[in-house]
Structures are given as structure tokens and as C-alpha cells.
């Protein structure tokens, strides 16, 4: 490990001033589950390490002005145990309980997961489905951008060297909205995402699809929306049969996204099962199954 100067700010303000000062060569450590490995192995060689894990003001779950707001330092475990997540955000719950291992969920934060922007990351997919935005702060001010704009793939998320991601937020789902999420990994625990499917549906009063978002994870350098599927879902009645009529389009989307990858052979099949589980979750949330 290359020697570095260690900073442990206790407030966002303090962290931002350290970032401004040391942006030329620093690493931010939140949960550390990715960055500490990179520092230890010499992949990252920062002169300054800013450990933000002690900033308690960045740990919260709240609903405010119609938005669900999650502090960047919320760990996967803290979200799993949070009554609001359990009750109102079943797809986020489904996501966080399948991250890494208990030890990783106890350390890993959603802010780190989003900034790390791994191809096989867990939470960026579901955040895109929820229509999330990220809040980026620096001593110069605050920027808010959609997670779609933010996440341009590994090592290319749109954060500036002096910025800190402080919050992930998205519209609080209403009673006519539901989100499903299903992850395929190689085993139950300690598995990165091989393929993830996440679906958002807004329904009409007579139980048809008014609006839809379909996101595939781990078939592109960042979670990918599938406009063709979103269009196909619109207007369909909310029945298992009707929704599953779109399954061939999931296969098509995977085939098109990773046509030259060896994994396409099983991912284009697996995606149907994952999509079916998402539809089941959504129908269950709507009380239609």
C-alpha cells in the first residue's frame, strides 16, 4: 500500500473542503468494499484518502416533497432493515438483500455502488428503474442529474474530482406504480450480477399499463433501458398472459446487446425467467395475483 495521508471528516462541509484541496490525488472511502482493495493492490495510488464513513448526516431514508431520499452512506444492511424500504420499496429491498455477503452488505454503501458504476453492480439498475437522480456536491455548489446521465459505464460516471455524491433520490412510488427486480448470479451469496431485469409499471384505473420502464443490468457497460419493450408493454392489460407475451422481446434485447459474447447463449434464455419474476412481483404488488 502506497503511503497516504488519512483524513476522516465528520461533516459534508469538511469533506468538500478536503476534496477541493486534494482533488489532484485522492480517493474517497465510504464502505471501502471496492476502493480499499484497489488501494491495497496498488490499482489506485492516492496521496490522500478521505474516509467519509464517519459522516453520519449522510445516513438516512426519508420521504420528502414526494421524493424518496437515500443518504449516500446508507449501507445495504441498513436499507434491508429499514421499515420504509420493506414496506414501500420492495424492488429495492429485493436488490439489497442479494448484494455480496452479509459482511459486504454491512459495509457497502449505495453511494459507493453508484459511483463505482460496475458493469455488474447491483443497485444502479434498480435506481434507474425508479427514475432516480443523484445529488453531487462540491464547494462550488450542487448539481443534480439523472442516474442515466450520471452512469456512463465503469470509470466513467459523471462525477468531478472535487465532488461528493451525497444522495440518491427518486419519486415515491404511488399506489398505481410498481417495480420488480430480479438478479441472476452464479450462486446465492457472494455473486456479482450475471444478469438483472427490472421493470416499472404505472397502471390505469382499469388495470392496464399506462407507462413502463424496462431495464437490463449486466448486458451493457451500464444498466440499459429497452425502449422497444417499454412501448410494447404500454396499453397491455395487467394479466400474467398479456405481460408474458413480451418475453420474446427480452430475448431480442439481450441478443442485440451482447450478440458476440459467449454468455449471450444463456443470458438470452435466462432473461425470460428473470422478466417473468419481475412481472409476478408487479402483479402481486398491485394485488392482481
Amino acid at each position: 500500500m502506497k503511503p497516504f495521508t488519512y483524513h476522516a471528516p465528520r461533516s459534508v462541509e469538511e469533506a468538500l473542503s478536503l476534496l477541493e484541496q486534494h482533488q489532484a490525488s485522492c480517493a474517497v472511502v465510504a464502505g471501502g468494499t471496492d476502493v480499499v482493495i484497489e488501494i491495497n493492490e496498488g490499482v489506485k495510488r492516492p496521496e490522500h484518502v478521505i474516509d467519509i464513513s464517519k459522516i453520519s448526516e449522510l445516513r438516512y431514508v426519508k420521504e420528502e416533497d414526494g421524493l424518496v431520499k437515500l443518504g449516500a452512506l446508507d449501507t445495504f444492511t441498513s436499507l434491508e432493515r429499514h421499515p420504509y424500504v420493506q414496506e414501500h420499496l420492495p424492488a429495492l429491498y429485493e436488490t439489497v438483500i442479494h448484494v455480496g455477503s452479509p459482511q459486504i452488505r454491512n459495509l457497502g454503501t449505495i453511494g459507493g455502488n453508484v459511483v463505482n458504476a460496475s458493469v455488474a453492480g447491483d443497485s444502479p439498475t434498480v435506481f434507474l428503474t425508479y427514475g432516480a437522480e443523484v445529488v453531487l456536491k462540491s464547494t462550488r455548489g450542487e448539481r443534480i442529474m439523472t442516474i442515466e446521465e450520471f452512469n456512463q459505464g465503469p470509470g466513467n460516471c459523471q462525477i468531478r474530482p472535487d465532488e461528493l455524491l451525497t444522495e440518491v433520490r427518486f419519486p415515491a412510488p404511488g399506489k398505481d406504480e410498481a417495480v420488480g427486480y430480479f438478479k441472476i448470479g452464479k450462486r446465492k451469496s457472494l455473486a456479482i450480477v450475471v444478469l438483472a431485469v427490472s421493470v416499472y409499471i404505472k397502471r390505469t384505473a382499469d388495470n392496464r399499463v399506462e407507462d413502463a420502464r424496462v431495464i437490463l443490468g449486466a448486458v451493457s457497460k451500464h444498466p440499459m433501458r429497452v425502449p422497444a419493450l417499454e412501448e410494447a408493454l404500454k396499453g397491455l392489460p395487467l394479466t400474467k398472459e398479456a405481460l408474458e407475451g413480451t418475453l420474446p422481446l427480452f430475448t431480442d434485447a439481450v441478443q442485440a446487446a451482447i450478440a458476440n459474447r459467449p454468455s449471450v447463449v444463456y443470458k438470452r434464455e435466462g432473461v425470460r425467467g428473470a422478466a417473468r419474476r419481475c412481472f409476478d412481483q408487479i402483479l402481486t404488488q398491485f394485488g392482481l395475483m
Binding site: 472511502v29 468494499t33 480499499v36 482493495i37 484518502v49 459482511q103
Partner: protein, 161 residues
């Protein structure tokens, strides 16, 4: 390199130590604090051998920097036995169930089990399996480890209903 002062509670004792900030928690605990029960396996958070309990939760100490425990509490296997020198129920159960072969994963296994049972004394079979899922063992095949945790739960009086 400027040393930092780390104040934390280690196995029930408040300590204040001057340490090199360029260390992972696993190295700090072994090299500076002499906690040799903490084993490094993969160094990437995948195997669970270096598990310790930090503020009541199981964590892999290869993924933390030493300075991060400032103000917190850490439990290693050295802090698990009873004050009179007897084994804790979990350790005793590992012995009785034959849940130990080479032993390298055992400290981490016992600490994951302790973090679970401290928080959830009536943990079910499935909850135990999930809580232990971040600890790999290449010898035993896991059955006896899960069985040991169930025995420990029962011995502590938390039998599942």
C-alpha cells in the same frame, strides 16, 4: 508518514494506539494489536476468513482501513471466550459438532455466528445459513458448521420455535 491516533474498544477494553494510517484493519489488528486469530484469506472480501465484529456487525477486516474503527468497537475471537477462561457456547458447539478441520476459517465463522445470535438469538436454520453465507470453508462442507450454530443457539437458550 504521519501516524494517527486510533481510539476504540477492542474486545471490551478501551484502547488508544498510535498507528500507521496506511494499513487495512486486518493488518492493524494482527501487527499492532497482536490479534492473530484474524486470518487473511483472499484479501478481497470474498472469503470471510478475516471477519471481525465492528459495532455489532460482521465485517471483513481486509476491506476496512485501520483508522475507520476510531470511536467504534471491535470484537475478535480473542474476545469471545468467557471471562473465567471457558469457551463461549458457540466455540463449544464448534468443538462438539466437529465443525473445525484445518481451522483457518473458524475464527471468522464463529464471529459471523456471534454477530447473528447477539442480534437474533432465535435465528432459524435459513437465517443461520444466510448469516454464514459470507464465510467460505474448504474442508467441512458446511453442514457441521450450520449444525454447530444451531447447537449454540439452543445452548444459549434461544431455541427456534
Amino acid at each position: 508518514m504521519e501516524q494517527i491516533t486510533i481510539r476504540f474498544n477492542l474486545n471490551g477494553r478501551d484502547v488508544s494506539v498510535q498507528a500507521d494510517p496506511n494499513k487495512r484493519l486486518v493488518d492493524f489488528l494482527r501487527e499492532d494489536m497482536g490479534m492473530l486469530s484474524v486470518k487473511e484469506g483472499c484479501g478481497e472480501g470474498e472469503c470471510g476468513a478475516c471477519t471481525v465484529i465492528y459495532n455489532g456487525e460482521a465485517v471483513t477486516s481486509c476491506l476496512m482501513l485501520a483508522g475507520q474503527v476510531e470511536g467504534g468497537s471491535v470484537i475478535t475471537l480473542e474476545g469471545v471466550g468467557k471471562e473465567n477462561g471457558e469457551l463461549d457456547e458457540i466455540q463449544q458447539a464448534f468443538v462438539e459438532a466437529g465443525a473445525v478441520q484445518c481451522g483457518y476459517c473458524t475464527p471468522g465463522m464463529i464471529l459471523s455466528a456471534k454477530a447473528l445470535l447477539d442480534r437474533n438469538p432465535k435465528a432459524t436454520h435459513e437465517e443461520i445459513r444466510r448469516a454464514m453465507s459470507g464465510n467460505l470453508c474448504r474442508c467441512t462442507g458446511y453442514s457441521k458448521i450450520i449444525q454447530a450454530v444451531e447447537m449454540a443457539r439452543d445452548a444459549k437458550g434461544g431455541a427456534a420455535v
